[in-house]
């Protein structure tokens, strides 16, 4: 089961700054600033210029991190929905 695929535009996310554990991002197309807590920045990195389904995102992040979640599929889906709602990722 693949589900929808998402993508993040790396140009639009170029301005990002780490602020003690959180990441501040200036989203150029909208002019909005967002403050992201993990794993949102890691999900964006996994989708920067590379389309991916929830499953694929999970796999990409698992390459670098030990994942912790009661239900990883639900968690990733929720994070992707949040990021889509603010326009940081889009369905492709």
């Amino acid at each position: 089961m693949a589900g929808p695929r998402y993508i993040a535009d790396p140009q639009a996310l170029a301005r990002n700054v780490a602020l003690d554990g959180l990441t501040a991002i200036f989203h150029a197309p909208s002019g909005l600033t967002h403050l992201l807590a993990p794993p949102a920045p890691q999900i964006l990195a996994a989708l920067a210029g590379r389309p991916g389904s929830a499953e694929e995102v999970l796999a990409r992040i698992a390459e670098s991190f030990e994942l912790e979640a009661a239900n990883p599929a639900d968690a990733i889906a929720a994070r992707l929905a949040e990021l889509e709602a603010v326009g940081l990722v889009a369905k492709t």
Binding site: L19, G31, L35
Partner: protein, 287 residues
């Protein structure tokens, strides 16, 4: 407009017009030692009657200008000076695009700036004024101007707005520096204090931000100093800025740079003495 006064405070100049002479007479006295304004002013403030007949009948001052808030309530003429000051604040809050505006007090020592920020009533204005009387160079009590290009803080030393209990702290000040006592304002009793002569003389000298403080005054508080993380400082400062969003990427770069390079502390205190002591020790800890 019948009456006019031009003022320059730091990098910002105003043209203030008024249907009545009294507010401008008080304003002229409060700003009498300031340098001349530029020929072309950045902002216009107009003190106008709410309705034509309110120029004479229960005179009522509507605050208008380049920028205006439609649901602002007019003030009685007896508070005309306050209306003028509010009008100047409003032009900055809505129209300033060159500098990132922080709703903060600021003072300077040795070319480095201390930024005092927090909610209205937390004590930042009073503390900035107090420090200005204790050897620090006063830069402003309402707005701090951050230059996105350089990261420097620019002074905006308007007349200091002392409110309610804070008035008593400055009873010993030279009467020539004090404006009239304004009672029954939306924020209680207010009195304006002219900044120290040095603050006015040096208002064109910017300073490098070195410390951000979140002061909190309360009779029941235990004196304390706590570090504040960069993410929290960032969010609080975006809420304390009226033009962060309007400045877009410049605002983002400027503010993230500030919070990642300048340490921040929250200080709680019960009295002026404790406040000044906490400020001095936080400052001393800086490299």
């Amino acid at each position: 407009m019948r009456h006019r006064l031009d003022l320059r405070i730091g990098p910002v100049s105003y043209r203030i017009g008024s249907a009545w002479p009294e507010p401008l007479a008080e304003l002229r006295r409060l700003y009498r030692n300031y340098p001349a304004a530029e020929a072309v002013c950045d902002f216009t403030v107009r003190l106008e009657p709410e309705r034509p007949w309110r120029r004479y009948l229960r005179p009522s001052v509507a605050i208008r200008g380049d920028y205006t808030l439609p649901d602002a309530a007019p003030l009685p003429l007896t508070l005309g000076l306050l209306a003028a000051e509010m009008g100047m604040n409003l032009q900055m809050a809505l129209g300033q695009k060159r500098y990132l505006l922080l709703h903060a007090g600021s003072v300077e020592r040795d070319g480095r700036a201390l930024i005092l920020t927090g909610h209205s009533g937390a004590g930042k204005s009073t503390l900035a004024a107090l420090l200005g009387e204790r050897g620090w160079r006063f830069m402003g009590d309402e707005f701090a101007l951050l230059d996105p290009a350089t990261g420097l803080l620019h002074a905006f030393p308007r007349a200091i707005s002392l409110k309610n209990a804070a008035l008593a702290l400055f009873d010993g000040a030279d009467p020539a520096r004090l404006g009239p006592v304004l009672r029954g304002t939306p924020k209680g009793t207010i009195r304006h204090l002219q900044p120290p002569a040095e603050a006015i003389a040096r208002m064109d000298q910017p300073a490098r931000p070195a410390l951000i403080l979140f002061p909190r005054f309360g009779r029941d508080l235990d004196p304390a100093t706590r570090p504040v993380g960069a993410a929290e400082v960032f969010v609080r400062l975006t809420q304390a800025s009226t033009n962060y969003v309007a400045l877009g990427a410049r605002g983002f770069d400027s503010l993230t740079s500030l919070v990642t390079t300048v340490p921040a502390r929250a200080i709680d205190y019960r009295s002026s003495e404790e406040a000044v002591a906490l400020v001095e020790s936080a400052w001393a800890e800086l490299r």
